[in-house]
Symmetry: C2
Subunit: 471 residues, 2 copies
């Protein structure tokens, strides 16, 4: 792994420059990368399509999302709140006397970004993790995903050129590939944090290595999510057919290869949703992203079907990559929770029939953490206890919607209790950058040594808390 | 460990109540605990003195600090920023249409708090970790320190009674003791986070267990710190004697048993500081906190003295627990970094003589992360490169001061690169509560299901970011 060593050292050297860069500089770097990707869309999208099989239109949308993300982080940096500046002036009259203290968030250092297979732009080489790490002044080494190697390489070239032309230091960004390189990266002394989107098994293995280092580093993993949906009797009676259409669209979106895919859906026995769902399920076989996903899909569906009390209600499991809907009841789910609540990537969802809401609450005891939990209910139905369970299990709680589709906003949170993520952080939205920052406080520092955002006269005009008051 | 199991389950049950409590309720609980400790001072302080040997006056001050902390977190909760509320209204015209998203930080669940030996109040049963966890709606199980068992038990009784009388649920707070109980606690499925202040070895062992759980949990460890100090030639020439007095006070404070004790001090060869320091060093043997600290002190000093080029400049190492100052030069430090830069708890510090500032910078390559780094320099001296090194190593950077004494304020940061802490979080100051919160975002939620801080009309009048703008 000489290559990884050289690259990681270069990232550490570049960090000596980026740690001193201004927010304005970094915002211009991010916008340069966004512009380069926008210009490269017509070249990149066909490459991505060829390697992943993802439809051209979705890929085009994903490039726009990716460049939108880069520009959002440029805006976030310029706004300045992300530095979380807090200033307390000295108080010599306090017991004991209080010094002048000025707190700011600083970049952690070189970051390892493990890219995902299912978003070859938005969660890959120039995706959200890269954007949020560069935004705060970190340098980045991406471990490219084997599912789209040529796209990864070409994207990395465009990013590298754009950063160079924008004046960023050499070594600020690099790409490595291969499983061994990924392991070497997370264990390299120069790497100060790692982020990962992918499978529970792969993520856990890397997280364990990050924790076992002589100098442990934070590992931000987005690992697996079943995304439970609950449809109440009232909601089913009011709009069962529309819910069937919505669910059909959501679980088949991107051939079901989304971390927010609704994987288990609680519906009343004899629901209109269940009756209407088969009409919303396609019969075409999909090309899935990787061989591992293809075989995992087949074996996951087969394992569920092997359980007594699980039946097919739409699709043909023998076709292997065409959409499939299975159904069971709450008691069977509870009895075979480990099999039936394992995440199955691909166009599959499981309906779970219930009679009393109490059955849903009991079944929830078997669910692990998820990125999302969704409730379809009508006004006047008592859902308080159910909602309390859903809140304890998920990072995003949806009402009358579907979990696929993650808006990139100031407010977004894309994370949740284990195994959705292994930390309290998000990988989408403005606060994603906090993963790559650490606080530092300056005590009684002369003005001339302070970082600009901490200067008394606030030359950048950024939001700060001063003597306890937000200003 | 039936006992731990029962207690942890009770904490989980109580969490069902505290997770729904209001900030006003929790503020009143914290103030009730503070009042109970204040009332109990005259009973608690002699008990603490008996068990720890810490002087009465310092203990009295520590109780005041502890109740001040509890009240600060009550203020923080009432102010509301700690919830980090972000609201983005729906935008149907966006591509794709953007839902209504409302983000808030929620309590993680039952928290395990491992208390420290050296602050029997401020970092113990009712210390900062307990206060910051209760503040945000978590329940707490404290693992008491074996160095002050009776004080721990009596404090826990007062806390439990105060919480009960203030209307907090049974099980919100409990104490367990013993090493095995601590391990059982960090591995118990009901525990969702743990915080620890203590030795590197003990903390690392617990951190490894937290990471190896089937469901890993965050472990917030404050583990070890050498707290480097650099005195420039200019500063020594200008005020070497005053610096000797300041250093003498700082490293002997609380018999050197502070995590912010200055452990290594870079001084110019032939410094006025070194000449004046012996007069500032006491000759009385101290009673140290525990047998382990006492033997660690002796063996740490002996190991340093066994190195060629290390000499005694104050104190008598043979006395075992009286203050000792050793001195060496930068080259010897670099050669024997592992021994000479190991943290030695107790009244000991090491002077490192240098001729050129470049020697200090070279020696810094051997330093690990610290809670603090301190610079004594004069205006006009070029310290930019040195400061950059210090920033990369520490969580608090001091100018013309001494690192002992940690103000409890909005701005404070008590943490640093490994092994100072193992996360980017602080255990002192207003932001300490964030360790025990996780974000959740509500998508398109009807108003009647939202937590009060997310309601459209902001009934609590708390700070929020709405559509990107701080309000």
């Amino acid at each position: 792994m000489d290559d990884v060593d050289t690259i990681a050292r270069a990232a550490a050297e570049a960090f000596e420059v980026t740690v001193r860069s201004t927010g304005a500089e970094r915002a211009s770097w991010l916008r340069a990368v966004a512009a380069a990707l926008d210009s490269g869309t017509e070249e990149l999208v066909p490459l991505a399509h060829e390697e992943t099989g993802i439809p051209i239109d979705r890929l085009r949308g994903e490039v726009a999302r990716t460049t939108g993300q880069l520009r959002m982080f440029a805006d976030v940096v310029e706004e300045g709140s992300y530095l979380e500046v807090v200033i307390d002036h000295a108080d010599p009259s306090a017991t004991p006397p209080r010094p002048d203290l000025r707190r700011i968030l600083r970049p952690v250092g070189p970051v390892a970004v493990f890219s995902a297979s299912n978003f070859p732009f938005a969660f890959s080489v120039a995706g959200g993790d890269t954007a949020s790490a560069l935004a705060v002044g970190c340098t980045v080494v991406v471990k490219g995903h084997a599912g789209h190697p040529l796209l990864s390489r070409r994207t990395a070239q465009l990013v590298t050129e754009a950063l160079r032309e924008a004046g960023a230091p050499e070594g600020i960004f690099a790409l490595v590939t291969g499983r061994d390189a990924g392991i070497a990266l997370v264990e390299h002394p120069a790497i100060t944090a790692a982020s990962f989107t992918g499978s529970l098994a792969g993520g856990r293995a890397l997280a364990d290595r990050a924790a076992a280092r002589p100098t442990p580093i934070p590992f931000y993993g987005e690992l697996g999510s079943i995304n439970p949906v609950v449809v109440t009797a009232g909601a089913d009676a009011a709009r069962g057919e529309a819910l069937a259409t919505g669910l059909g669209t959501s679980f088949q979106l991107s051939a079901g290869q989304l971390c927010t895919k609704p994987g288990v859906v609680f519906v009343p026995h004899g629901s209109r949703l269940e009756a209407a769902l088969p009409a919303a399920v396609g019969d075409e076989a999909h090309r899935l992203l990787t061989d591992a996903i293809t075989s995992g899909f087949s074996s996951g569906v087969a394992a569920a079907l092997a359980i007594d009390g699980v039946e097919v209600i739409a699709g043909d499991p023998a076709s292997h990559t065409a959409p499939v809907v299975l159904a069971t009841d709450a008691a069977t789910l509870s009895e075979h929770a480990e099999t039936l609540l394992a995440e199955v990537f691909g166009p599959f969802t499981l309906l779970v029939r219930y009679t009393e809401p109490a059955e849903v609450i009991a079944a929830f005891e078997h669910l692990e953490g998820s990125l999302t939990a969704t409730l379809h209910a009508e006004e006047g139905e008592d859902t308080a206890e159910l909602l309390a369970r859903m809140e304890s299990l998920a990072g995003r709680l949806l009402f009358a919607g579907w979990p696929t589709g993650v808006a990139v906003t100031w407010s977004q949170h894309h994370g949740g209790p284990w195994p959705a993520t292994n930390t309290q952080h998000t990988s989408v939205g403005a606060t994603a950058s906090r993963r790559f920052q650490r606080p530092i406080v300056y005590q009684d520092a002369p003005q001339h040594v302070l970082p600009e955002p901490l200067l008394e006269h606030n030359p950048l005009g950024i939001p700060r808390r001063v003597d306890g008051v937000r200003a």
